[in-house]
Chain length 466, copies 2
């Protein structure tokens, strides 16, 4: 997005400054003919100014003929030479980019990290040290599984916090779990059936589909996936999040865990992919041992990322392979280059090794606890309280909220959106949804919510549901 | 695998040096109790020394009690405190990791960047500024194709230096070309035949194979791939590097380029993947227009990385999609998260936008020219001159060197390796190699070569070939 600074603007008002900046860019050709200007709302957010300021600047530019507006489409740079509006915008600009930064006062669908809580100072210091001290290492191509220092740090971390005894060589680093999935599919084969939890994480099915891999949805019961259902659907590889099911929050009891380990041990090609995506952020209660740590038959693939603990925009994930798959991975796939930059691998390794990661997680847990408490207090003590039921609030960075209302789910989501609130319905996480009791239940991700806007959010929701 | 360097070993023999390195690692705890040492043969190969040398070092360590051997299993680190042998080693330690950083005095197979030439100071400054000034943006999930700032910088760069008119939306950023290939295959389908140049980049066939995609090798003639050969083998998508064929260095003439564009335009599903991997490093002559820039029928996918221009360890690549594929990409694959960290995307965008990238490329070109000239001068003026013919030296960071010798290729490679020189035979880049005239021709990547060691390298090669 266009970015301008508002320092040294002299006696100009904000809108005059913005108007001059854009005009200047048009005159210099930095903004080309027909180019679409940013929408007012995200542009304002991006620049840290009000929407009114952007509106005023745009109006001034329109009145002077530098830009023109197409209703419901946006604002475009005029062709100054022609001095006429183009009869149509180029065919090329018909491509609609997926929204990257929609502007909400509260987006409960987003997994983004608040920039307030990211450890910028320590990260900058760590990066500076790495760039100073590790110059030679930074240029050496890492092994396919990632640099050993990071894998050692992760192994130590898993040992201390998840009770897992893992050799660094079993840990494979990749640019996010989506990428690691594509590697896993190459490793496990594409002529077996992969099982997905229903409800579950919708992206997985999209990945399997894009890679032409057979998959089936398995309905979960109150304890998660059952071995019986896996047998029935002839599943070979099942993806689960036993420590904190997404999105329902179910914690799989130990008996069910052994049942699934038993299922996996029964045949050689069976594997459980244990997605431990937010275990670090348990807010209360004892940590639950991972399936990986109680598996003696070498059938669990553990997978995790730094999405929740650092940022969704730092693309580092990892998986812990069982011995037999580790061997196969090195034999068949060591030609692949590691997809994470050395710079960030060394920085993260150092950040973990010197205890900063642990400190950060403690801060984070505290930060999210405060945030969650603030949301629950605001929602439960205001007028909204008579319309909502909140469950699964003890872990991670989301809870479930059921809204009692006569409005339909689709209608309510639209009404909320019109007020700047994005809601993610639980029904979206189902393959086929037929449980009407769960309609108007929402998965409330709160990692990116601004608690200063909570009163406004609660009031807006109340106005919708009352 | 364990790696030690054999430079600065003073008056020690090779085995004494190795013995001391391992002993040191055991005493410092870098090698843990019970840890398995590498098997002698791969260890020797990895270190570029003889098996005898490793045997001598191991024997010395055994006699002093630092390690012990279990027949048919291997060598293990002793528990120095216990002063007794453990009754068994863990089953886990049987896995042999592929070699990551073998130690050579000259590795002509490596594409690594010399840490001397990486712009650490400017990069560190850029990263610091980004971490200071872009904190909010850094936390915002980027669009699937990458942050717009970077795509704009790349579009500007392609415009200025490659004469390509490309909208930022057509540019898709990913963690290296290998990753982008997996996306391309999802975009283009896996029931068509992909064509690969023979000789060519061997990794591509491995990727296609791993992803279960049909592919065929196409022999190149003096001008590269011909349209006739593509028709004959029923190719739908062909991967070529017309600006500088890898590894032969052929520059595809304009007539052949139009011939291939004609082939692609003939049927809707046909595409040319134009790999422009080292065009920035042309050392002399005029730049050749890309296929993408002369294609009017929207059948060229342009692909490039920052591997040669920044470092192979910064994992940022990009592709420029034709309009129709751009649309399809956003429709079908926008669920994929961008695989490159925001931090590095913003840093690179800034590095490019403020002219540092251009400056760096100019420095790089100069640096590699000096390096190439030093190598050619040393090789052509010393006693080696009578045994070698060097070709394709005008571009990129490799040239071809034919060695006149009675030794077989395999024998010569081993002999060079024993002297710490890694050679990459041209024959390795062929699917099936039957041109005996090209035996003992080597692809000489010189990006990582230390010119201070050139005399030693030339002398060692002379000793082998004479």
């Amino acid at each position: 997005m266009l970015t301008y600074t508002f320092t040294n603007i002299g006696s100009d008002s904000l809108y005059e400054h913005l108007y001059k900046c854009i005009k200047n860019d048009i005159l210099q050709g930095k903004l080309g003919v027909g180019e679409r200007l940013p929408s007012k709302r995200p542009f304002a957010k991006n620049l840290g100014i009000s929407v009114i300021t952007v509106e005023n600047a745009y109006e001034q530019l329109i009145s002077e003929g530098y830009i023109y507006s197409i209703p419901k489409r946006g604002f475009y740079v005029s062709d100054l030479k022609k001095d006429t509006l183009p009869s149509q915008t180029s065919q090329a600009s018909n491509i609609v980019l997926p929204a990257s930064t929609p502007s909400y006062i509260a987006d409960f669908s987003s997994n983004q990290t608040d920039s307030q809580i990211f450890p910028f100072t320590v990260w900058a210091k760590t990066m500076r040290e790495i760039l100073n001290e590790n110059q030679e290492q930074l240029m050496i191509n890492p092994p396919c599984g990632g640099i050993l220092e990071l894998r050692k740090s992760i192994a130590d971390y898993l040992k201390e916090f998840r009770g897992m005894t893992v050799r660094p060589e079993q840990i494979i680093i990749g640019a996010g779990t989506e990428y690691l999935y594509s590697i896993l599919i190459q490793l496990l084969g594409n002529n077996i059936i992969y099982g997905l939890e229903n409800p579950g994480y919708p992206k997985l099915a999209k990945i399997y589909k894009s890679l032409h891999v057979p998959y089936s949805f398995i309905n979960i019961d109150d304890n998660g996936i059952s071995a019986e259902a896996l047998e029935e659907k002839k599943i070979s590889v099942i993806h689960i999040s036993p420590s904190h099911h997404f999105p329902t929050g179910i914690v799989m009891p130990i008996s069910r865990r052994y049942e699934l380990l038993g299922w996996a041990a029964k045949e050689p090609g069976r594997y459980i992919i244990e997605d431990d995506y937010d275990s670090e952020l348990r807010l209360s209660g004892k940590p639950i041992p991972t399936l990986q740590s109680i598996d003696v038959s070498d059938h669990v693939i553990y997978i995790n990322t730094f999405t929740k603990t650092l940022s969704s925009t730092v693309r580092i994930g990892y998986m812990v392979l069982p011995e037999v798959l580790t061997q196969k991975y090195y034999e068949a796939f060591s030609f692949y280059s590691c997809t994470v930059s050395n710079f960030e691998q060394y920085a993260l390794a150092k950040f973990m090794a010197n205890g900063n990661f642990e400190k950060h997680i403690n801060r984070l847990r505290n930060y999210y606890q405060i945030k969650r408490d603030a949301i629950l207090t605001t929602f439960k003590n205001g007028p909204l309280k008579n319309y909502i039921t909140i469950t699964e609030e003890e872990s991670g960075v989301h809870f479930l909220m059921h809204i009692k209302t006569t409005r339909s789910e689709a209608d309510l989501i639209l009404a909320a959106r019109a007020k700047g609130i994005k809601l993610a319905p639980l029904s979206d996480y189902y393959d086929s949804f037929d449980n009407e009791e769960l309609r108007n239940t929402y998965v409330m991700n709160y990692s990116s919510i601004d608690i200063n806007k909570l009163d406004k959010v609660a009031e807006a929701l109340y106005q919708i549901v009352k």
